[in-house]
């Protein structure tokens, strides 16, 4: 059985560093996939049903069920804030500010 984790699909080292920092701060497990898949596909691979992926200049957070599009998204430059919101979503804490 897979360990519970949110899945991030990206090969961008700085983006991975920022998202991983957000997850470390929130003490939520993160699994990084170096595959060019969508946030939705990453969410389907996540035992917690939450995935992050890059779509152009946007970092997208998606759920594995209920909706096929982004649950929320924002500029890649806000990776730390978006990562924190995704981690808090998994931890069931208020997401805080995460831009648009």
């Amino acid at each position: 059985m897979s360990a519970p984790a949110v899945v991030l699909a990206s090969t961008n080292a700085e983006l991975i560093r920022l998202v991983a920092a957000a997850f470390e701060e929130e003490a939520v497990p993160l699994q990084v996939l170096s595959e060019p898949i969508s946030a939705r596909a990453a969410a389907v691979r996540s035992p917690l049903g939450i995935g992050l992926g890059v779509d152009g200049a946007e970092l997208v957070v998606a759920l594995s069920t209920g909706t096929t599009g982004a649950y929320f998204q924002g500029p890649v430059g806000d990776a730390r804030l978006l990562g924190r919101a995704a981690a808090r979503l998994a931890a069931r804490r208020p997401l805080g500010d995460f831009g648009t």
Partner: protein, 546 residues
């Protein structure tokens, strides 16, 4: 709107409601009246020729908190309660506050608590590790950003580190401070103990007892910061409550520890220039089974106050007469109109007891064979709004919605927990902003209104009901006492906006159970529910005079 023809029963045409634009009876409220008439006229295709008014008395409702919410200076100790959900480490430590940038100097011979501003966590950790290697005794860390765990993991995961500390710039560098982080799920122990806090801050015995308020203010918090204020030297002066002067000449502080006197006993209130009919005040409610929450609510020293004043002018009538082409007629007192309107409730007949629970006042009208008593008490729906708003930290307009509608906690994007502990599942996800928040339901567009409050829905529901009980049912008790009691077994009809709220009706029924009354909600003209009793009553009373 109604059509009146002499010698015929009134033809009731429409009932329309709109927001008020000022306190009852004031010139400012005239615009709301005119807007409403214009809207009703447009709908009807006909303009009225006469405005019927009740003899109104203005009610002012407000809320005053005597303590600051976030930062207090108590007994020479400044405290901060960081809101971070993710502090790092566990334990308490005391040391001298110092900027991170100063750690490049030679080490001080005392323990220090560095303050880390908004810089990258890797850079901060590197500077802290270098300082430790150089001999600095770092016993705790205060971080402005949300980086406590990240820094802890790179420096020392056992050090107490509080993060997301607002206004770190205002922490006095060089001052002696104490920091505590409690284990997950627990609350601070050392900072919440006045003696231990005094020892940590090296307060001399004359100031140690002054630390009790600061210690109490940190009770129930997972993390805290306490700073010794060198300049203060003792308890700071707190804002004093207003004084109410009673009819016997005595005074009573309007505070959370005092109760309002009987109806009409307050004759003057400090800072209010008016001829008072009644005054009523209420604190934030007690959270009966949660001592820490009760303390949090009490510490704000917030008191809602409603004042009913006698009018010395005819400002509303004059303002309406200046703008309205037809007549403006004052028909009767509000309670008399409410009785007439309530009596149109099917099955009520002539209601001997009418309770009008509106925005500003709770009015009791008792009309029996041998007596006819009308009592108006200050404080009703608007005061409940103020108290609910203060509990939730929202404005009174939003609080009005929170008061009326049930709340939910959005546990996940798909799961809602309700006030009774039950859960329901959504087919499409709730908005991200609502996740893990207490939310008001029943928005017109079906979305949830997310609140910042960390209250659980069941806790909020109890506080909300307590506010309604204290203000509406409590005020009604005052009115009944002033009326000399009520006859057992009689019918009491509830009208007014508050009577639409099933919780208020339930609280009133429970509070008056000992009087064995038949308490029923009005249904004006059999179609408008408990609202519009006064307006319809004015039409009926005026028709009798034609």
């Amino acid at each position: 709107m109604a059509r009146l023809v002499a010698g015929q029963p009134p033809e009731h045409l429409s009932v329309t409601r709109g927001p008020t634009t000022g306190a009852k009876g004031t010139a400012e409220s005239a615009q709301g009246v005119l807007d409403l008439i214009e809207r009703a006229s447009r709908r009807l295709g006909e303009a009225p020729t006469r405005i019927l008014l009740a003899d109104l008395h203005p009610v002012e409702t407000g809320l005053r908190a005597l303590a600051a919410d976030s930062e207090e200076d108590l007994g020479g100790v400044g405290i901060a309660r960081p809101v971070s959900a993710t502090p790092s480490g566990v334990g308490a430590a005391a040391g001298q506050l110092i900027d991170l940038a100063e750690l490049v100097e030679d080490p001080l011979p005392v323990p220090v608590i560095p303050i880390v501003g908004l810089i990258d966590f890797d850079a901060a950790a590197a500077a802290l590790n270098a300082a430790r290697a150089a001999g600095w005794q770092i016993v705790a860390i205060i971080v402005a950003g949300d980086d406590g765990v990240l820094i802890g993991n790179r420096v020392d995961a056992t050090l107490p580190i509080v993060d997301e500390v607002a206004d770190t710039d205002e922490l006095p560098r060089g001052a002696w401070a104490a920091v505590e982080v409690a284990p997950l799920g627990a609350a601070v122990v050392q900072l919440a103990d006045p003696l231990r806090l005094a020892v940590l801050l090296s307060l001399d015995p004359t100031r140690a007892r002054g630390a009790r308020n600061a210690a109490r203010a940190l009770l129930g918090h997972r993390a805290g910061i306490a700073v010794r204020r060198e300049a203060s030297g003792g308890a700071t002066e707190q804002e004093q409550p207003r004084l109410a002067t009673l009819s016997d000449g005595s005074t009573r502080a309007i505070d959370i520890t005092t109760t309002p006197p009987g109806v009409g006993e307050v004759v003057a209130i400090e800072g209010i220039d008016a001829d008072l009919i009644d005054a009523f005040w209420a604190p934030l409610p007690e959270a009966i089974d949660d001592a820490a929450l009760s303390l949090r609510l009490r510490q704000r020293r917030a008191v809602g106050l409603a004042v009913l004043a006698r009018r010395s002018d005819r400002a509303l009538e004059q303002a309406l007469a200046d703008s309205f082409a037809g007549d403006v007629v004052v028909v009767a007192a509000e309670t008399a109109a409410a009785v007439a309107g309530a009596s149109t409730t099917p099955g009520a007949g002539h209601a001997p007891i009418v309770i009008d629970m509106g925005g500003g006042t709770v009015d009791l009208h008792v009309q029996l064979d041998d007596r006819d008593v009308a009592i108006a008490t200050a404080g009703a729906g608007l005061l409940v709004d103020r108290i609910c708003g203060a509990i939730l930290g929202i404005d009174p307009l939003r609080a009005e919605q929170a008061k009326r509608h049930p709340s939910v906690h959005v546990e996940t994007p798909f799961i809602l927990r309700h006030e009774d502990g039950s859960r329901t599942f959504l087919t499409s996800p709730a908005a991200p902003q609502s996740v893990a928040h207490l939310c008001i339901t029943e928005r017109q567009d079906g979305s949830l209104d997310a609140l910042e409050s960390d209250l659980a829905p069941e806790v909020w529901a109890r506080l909300r009901r307590a506010a309604k009980r204290t203000i509406i049912a409590g005020n009604l008790r005052r009115a009944i006492t002033a009326a000399g009691g009520l006859p057992r077994g009689e019918l009491a009809v509830l009208v007014g906006g508050c009577a639409e709220d099933a919780e208020i009706v339930s609280e009133v029924s429970l509070a008056l159970a000992d009087l064995d009354l038949a308490i029923a909600r009005g249904d004006v003209l059999g179609q408008h529910g408990p609202r519009a009793a006064v307006a319809v009553g004015l039409v009926l009373l005026h028709a009798e005079t034609l």
